[in-house]
Subunit: 393 residues, 2 copies
């Protein structure tokens, strides 16, 4: 029995008590001095974590809203642009671009694999008219992390604009916005920032602002230049989600107290622990070995049919209080996913793995219990995982 | 000295403790069964309060986002449409429409006055190609409430679509969505719903859905048909602002426990009390007598210069903990505004008026103290206000 549900989907993240308390502060006037202080601290913290001196614009929106902002501010109808997709959220960006009349060239890696920067190089060479490239940093649906430094090197080497969807990556996985010359970074409050959903945060470079001046797609709500003018006075164009911003403020304080590199290292350690534990049970990881995400781990369905997988995750939810995610789109029924981003530590990993192992055993999918946590412990110590595995039937 | 700041701007509303506690519940999976229950209750409650059987779609956005949704779902580039504006937010709708390439016909009432339905009748007769009319229910910037039943009668009498911005009106002021045949109603969580900002709620009629099928403006994030498909399964297209939805759920419970008509009556009573108190001090109300809002009361600057007004509201904020709003746009420095919507009762009104009266006196703007609260008390009893007034210098 679990006293409290353990939410381990790839976002929303569970909320630290500090964040909950902070988000519960009384409402304030979003045109007053208290809000200006809040806004200033949030924007400053976001710049620090995103490693950028660019503006970080705030929109009352989900991450998808942030993604739409990049389309409508950077592009014009009929313009050819390159989209690098490794899963559902990359596909969503392309779908948006198509609806907005963009001539979207889509490079789609097979599910579970990453973008090959050489393909990007080739496509840009073949399509010199392409001026803007859109790529997913960390794909929530497939658990793939793209090699952004290598992709940025190709894209920026040719002087193109680069927009990165890092909704589920930023603050958890290294992303050196300015050092890599990334022009737009989109992220969302409910992921590594340890806050509830409702705030899209978008870092915008001077080159992106310049592109927005020429881009012809219509926009008001998500307009970068409009928002920039208000942000210069520590306000927002439209009423901001104040309580979510309180939460982001406190999440940022926690991140900065821990240290950005330490947060990255914690996610790398947690990711390695989850993968070691899962593999010790003989479960098969979905993402290709070199590109596995440190924030979400998709696992092949160990249960046979989609119905049996559903019974496994249902059992985890009802008996163990552990909420995992299923597959999205054509991966529904084929994988399940463990989210491990934001408010996650080693103790949480042990609880996840031990519960998963018991549920697997109870569903008759595991011949031996007691290997997953030791494997994770070994990974936490930086040691190799024990050789023996339980073997899924 | 105030132990806690009293936020009396026309939104965000202060938050009841019940709402704060509800919003602080642990995060849940927005694709899971707990969220489906939350979504179902919220949508059902919204329908009850908005007096409609239409879908009420939820978007992670401010009220402005909801306003943009009506533009992009109902209209096509070059289409002529009628916008009835009585202030800044009505003007904002027109500005949006212009940016989206709509041929917006704007009927603007002088600031402080309401739309004359006969003007609407005339414009529609002169422009038979106009199929959609956009109107503000309650204009936050001027404190004017339009006569929606009369306007709806004209617009629906001609078989046109009617979209109503009721961001600061709905749940506080009567709005009979279905009885009046209103096709789109836009509202926002931070107003009468007693929740933090972050959720736009949009009631959409079958005729509005049909219009959306033909409308050519591009949209993804705010697309009604896309959202409708997800809502049919008690989900949302994009990650919803879960904590704000918890808050709206609890705010709705409070509204339904009190009774919708009782909430309307409370706002009418509170509005009358505020106006009686303000006039007893000899202050001048900005909005025309027949159309004064029961959620926000703008008052002519009693202090002379904009700087002196700023000193008055600054004194209220720092010494009395009372946060009021200034004027917007060309009304900046000319008026100040008391918000009284959502979490507001008679006791709060007395505190507002007593503090305001002392501050006016302290700034040398009032010859006599002690008239404002008795006038409000009389209004609360339904009696006529005392005849004598203090007289502003």
């Amino acid at each position: 029995m679990a006293l409290e549900q353990q939410l381990r989907v790839p976002g929303p993240t569970p909320l630290p008590q500090r964040v909950v308390r902070s988000a519960s502060r009384p409402m304030i006037n979003h045109r007053g001095p208290e809000f200006a202080e809040l806004m200033s601290e949030v924007c400053s913290g976001l710049k620090t974590v995103l490693r950028t001196d660019n503006d970080v614009l705030l929109f009352p929106a989900s991450g998808t809203g942030g993604m739409e902002s990049a389309i409508v501010n950077l592009l014009s109808p009929g313009e050819r642009a390159l989209f690098l997709s490794v899963g559902s959220f990359g596909d969503r960006w392309v779908e948006m671009a198509n609806i907005y009349g963009v001539d979207a060239v889509k490079l789609r890696a097979p599910s579970g694999e990453a973008i090959d920067p050489e393909d990007v190089e080739r496509i840009l060479a073949e399509n010199p008219e392409i001026e803007k490239v859109f790529v997913t940093h960390n794909e929530t649906s497939t658990g793939v992390t793209n090699d952004i430094p290598a992709i940025a090197s190709v894209v920026k080497g040719r002087g193109k604009l680069l927009a990165v969807d890092s909704v589920s990556g930023a603050s958890c996985i290294p992303l050196e916005t300015d050092a890599l010359g990334i022009d737009v970074v989109v992220t969302g409050s409910q992921k590594g920032w340890m806050a509830p959903p409702g705030l899209a945060m978008v870092a915008v470079s001077p080159a992106a602002y310049a592109a927005a001046e020429k881009a012809k797609l219509p926009r008001v709500y998500f307009d970068y230049h409009r928002e920039r003018k208000f942000q210069a006075n520590n306000q927002t164009y439209t009423t901001p989600p104040v309580s979510v911003m309180y939460a982001v403020q406190e999440g940022l304080r926690m991140i900065l107290e821990e240290g950005v590199e330490n947060v990255w290292a914690r996610h790398a350690r947690v990711g390695a622990m989850i993968r070691a534990g899962v593999e010790a049970a003989g479960l098969r990881l979905f993402a290709a070995a070199a590109h596995r995400s440190d924030t979400v781990t998709p696992i092949h369905n160990p249960a046979g049919t989609p119905e049996e997988l559903s019974q496994l995750t249902g059992l985890l939810r009802t008996r163990y209080g552990l909420v995992l995610a299923g597959g999205q789109g054509d991966l529904k029924g084929r994988i399940f996913r463990i989210g491990h981003l934001g408010f996650i530590d080693e103790g949480a990993v042990y609880a996840i793995l031990a519960s998963l192992e018991l549920a697997l055993s109870e569903r008759g999918l595991l011949s031996r219990v007691g290997l997953m946590v030791p494997a994770a412990q070994a990974a936490a110590r930086g040691a190799a995982a024990p050789a023996e595995t339980a073997g899924v039937r």
